[in-house]
Subunit: 658 residues, 2 copies
Amino acid sequence: MGGSAAAGKSVDGGGRAAQRVPVPEARPFLDTFRANLKETFFPDDPFRAVVRERGFGRRAAAALRYFFPFLEWAPAYRLGTFKSDLIAGITIASLAIPQGISYAKLANLPPILGLYSSFVPPLVYAMMGSSKDLAVGTVAVASLLIASMLGAEVSATENPALYLHLAFTATFFAGVIQASLGILRLGFIVDFLSHAAIVGFMGGAATVVCLQQLKGMLGLEHFTTSTDLVSVMRSVFSQTHQWRWESVVLGCGFLFFLLVTRFFSKRQPRFFWVSAAAPLTSVILGSLLVYFTHAENHGVQIIGNLKKGLNPISVTNLQFTPPYMMLALKTGLITGVIALAEGIAVGRSFAMFKNYHIDGNKEMIAIGTMNILGSFTSCYLTTGPFSRSAVNYNAGCKTAMSNVVMSLAVMVTLLFLTPLFHYTPLVVLSAIIMSAMLGLIDFPAAVHLWHVDKVDFCVCAGAYLGVVFGSVEMGLVVAVAISVLRVLLFVARPRTTVLGNVPDTNVYRRMDQYTTARAVPGVLVLRVDSPIYFANSGYLRERFTRWIDEDDERTSAKGETGVQYVVLDMGAVGSIDTSGTSMLDELKKTLDRRGIQIVLANPGSEIMKKLDSSKVLELIGHEWIFPTVGEAVAECDFVLHSHKPGMVVDGASHENMV
Amino acid sequence: MGGSAAAGKSVDGGGRAAQRVPVPEARPFLDTFRANLKETFFPDDPFRAVVRERGFGRRAAAALRYFFPFLEWAPAYRLGTFKSDLIAGITIASLAIPQGISYAKLANLPPILGLYSSFVPPLVYAMMGSSKDLAVGTVAVASLLIASMLGAEVSATENPALYLHLAFTATFFAGVIQASLGILRLGFIVDFLSHAAIVGFMGGAATVVCLQQLKGMLGLEHFTTSTDLVSVMRSVFSQTHQWRWESVVLGCGFLFFLLVTRFFSKRQPRFFWVSAAAPLTSVILGSLLVYFTHAENHGVQIIGNLKKGLNPISVTNLQFTPPYMMLALKTGLITGVIALAEGIAVGRSFAMFKNYHIDGNKEMIAIGTMNILGSFTSCYLTTGPFSRSAVNYNAGCKTAMSNVVMSLAVMVTLLFLTPLFHYTPLVVLSAIIMSAMLGLIDFPAAVHLWHVDKVDFCVCAGAYLGVVFGSVEMGLVVAVAISVLRVLLFVARPRTTVLGNVPDTNVYRRMDQYTTARAVPGVLVLRVDSPIYFANSGYLRERFTRWIDEDDERTSAKGETGVQYVVLDMGAVGSIDTSGTSMLDELKKTLDRRGIQIVLANPGSEIMKKLDSSKVLELIGHEWIFPTVGEAVAECDFVLHSHKPGMVVDGASHENMV
């Protein structure tokens, strides 16, 4: 590397411009601001396809294709593709009808709403969504959340009309929030729900939903409105005399049937349709059983009348007046974000399998629009549930047309088949929900988290316990709080390591990881693995001092020369703020008093800019900043060996020299 | 580096163990946990001095010396040192007496409390504090906060006894919280108040305090209890007919005098005592003026009677019962943390000048204890104010003995001299506060922030505007929120850069910073500057894909070969969680489908451990992980040139080959 020759030049103050770390030219503030804004909010450059086109007409067409992806695939749609989509659509419809009714009951809403919600939203999604595999429908967790959040203030049994209207309003707000997040390019907020948090949260929610099903399974009439384990257990065991054996037997039988079919389909993926058709089969069998045995007179509760006909318009039912608007807004916010997280995650997973691209923010606009339009037409919150989308994928869907098929099948049901559900026993719905929920408890994932990352496991366990023993919202807050705390702690307590030279090379490595790396006498090479921010500048100052003290103790015990140069490897320092530059300023002054020279290696361009504008560059001296640790150490080594140690230890004379 | 020879070996699957990146051995979970805990909470290894000693007696003595640093310096204390401390102590006493009275008025507390608070706490600090320069006393910002927070629920004029007791209780809680933060080693919470936040917050608080002084300066009897600019201006201009010219003239005169002396002392640091003595001089001059002109009968308000005697015991006055306990707790929490931040920052700054070490957590215990004991003896919240400590430092203090001298001087005042303050006009106190506050508005610091770091400037401006137009608490919340958001955004949107080879070396540099760096055909080297966490794993996956797409577009436009290897430089990735490992897993699978091989360079030991336990290491293949980018690219280059491109592009055959 020619270290000594180069170092000789730097002592006389020049001639080494080529090896200097450049200070980037100052760019106008607005340019930097615009570039940062783009990188933060448009990292995927979504309008590339639009901007590439020339002329207004072509651009408008490209923009239309951007917002309505079906314009892209519909013109080239062929019969062969349709056959695949038809099969997939009918399969998911047979799942959507019983699940829709079940989840609507879970949300304390009229069962018919589950069917309404499987009619309009899938049509909207088919036009606007970019996923080919997402199957639209209601989800259990959001349904439960609606029941618990709205139910805390408005009783679904005492004031069903208000409760229903609030559910529409919450759906409207959820849609508005989802679409806004997409339009404002704030999709990354959803990323703050980490995978670990979602595993714990979903497991907890599934547990809670299963517990709620004890009402239906045991045939109880009264039940707690709380969702936590303690309240539910107290409610169940305080009325053991009310348990109905007919209900228990029927429920357990169907649950067993559903679990066996699910297990079978999992083992034999060709027979995916067995588990997909099982819920509808259960509903039909259960209804026939009740119809012929008149079990409804023996304590087996049934759905009762379902109104025939398509979705009534509900836009006039939205409540935009106090005191309930805030409640609907809060419910919409939380359920909307959770539903969105599931929808986006599902869309991305399947896109990855089939190797196409999903634009998260555009998906948010699609899901948001579908909920807004849904809230106008008597639907409640929908998203892309994982289980149904997996069935869609396994059934061989090719485009979003499978959603249209499902929607049409539901339409036929609404128009002609609703009376058939009159005798469907509620306990079958409970069994359907429970069997779906048991699949959401992902125990192996939790074990995996424990093995790979203990903090992630804590996030997961926190979310689970928060949901099961507190409430769904509490679990969410706990999970997000631990996740954010982890990020903050990473920045507040960054790892600092001592680097050593790998013999016979110019390479410097962490001495704790690479056992062959050796320390250079008189030179301490330190590395920081995080940005230097206000949150860690105080810590880093103390930690650097402690490294130097420890090294001094070690060397003085051995009778070697102490530290005379501290080389900071800034390679992993991604950013620095004014607290960070002040810290370097102070560190430089403190080390000067101890006669130790501070040397920086490999700072990035942003760091150089900040050091320059804060005058710290001037203080340290541009000649003490090197592109690599190797060059920095070579320079230190050269100065150490070409002068008497006394001169270097004495800070004043050393400063004069440079 | 012998790249091709080494690469040749790796293809046949072995013999290169020395250059492999080692996977660290699994350590027992509890060991890792303990080590992390130590690094997080005891980064400064505070008990080193204690642990080093042998035998119980010596250890106990060392521990005692640790908690009571005066045991360290007192035995060796000499007369020469005392002379310096005596001068410094008397100087700060002459500042403490008028400031103490002024700030107590600001807190709507009886003026005598300002003197009480300068008697007991300094004695406690002298025993327990480790700073040699900190001068203990009350501060304006905390005083104002007490007035605004307690005053919002309890009126100081209508219910003075309750208000007083709540002030003691708040001080007690502040002390408990400060000491607990120290004992629980949570001192880093204070670090989350960044320098920028403090500049803005202090400036805003100083503005607000000055605005409050308009009451005294204009001689108004009634005044708003709000602190925001709008309320104060409305209050001032709605009662222009109440303005007293005598008060205005007197106030402006003294303010001018104080500012001139301060300006003079700043220019001539030898004459630091001029500005230090100016407040007491103003008080004496003002009192004499009122005494001889009987201005108290012409609308100039005076302090009135001050009780003679030392601090009465107030431990029985603490309120631990609802409904006011929560108010006191909240006030104590906020004022305690703010006072602590100032005290620690001041202690550290002066320790840096004199090159000795301050243990932040131990300081917190000292400040907390002094406030707990203070709350038992009729004192309200004290800390180490910057202005007074600067005077102490300039006056040549050598040890914490100067606090003892100040305390004794205040004791003499309390015992014999309080009647002298009877005629002190309130307007002089207002002038003293205003002149002190104007020094806190650090306009050049704000300009510096703008030049160095725009985000820090936003934090500063947010804190300032929040305090001035909202409330002190709001300013604090705004500042902390922007600061935390910045950290989160740094992690959520990390910078990714393309690295290029510096010709004739093995070194890879950012191509946007080092213009000489050149891309290697067929190999894309990407670098991430942050940990890979849940908050950015989605973003990074998209960003990586976009880099590859862009590179493909560029090369195909030129007719060159497209990307066949993506080398990820993990050198700056300090940590990874399970979302991060899943992202790499997905990325590997996606790139495999495109026939692109993923290669990792320079992962740290923690990363290797996570990759190993999550099986991603197995998926990518240990042979595709290299200690440096240079070696990684050499290997890719070797494979590229020793096989036909077709073989490499075809993912399947390539996988068979490795």
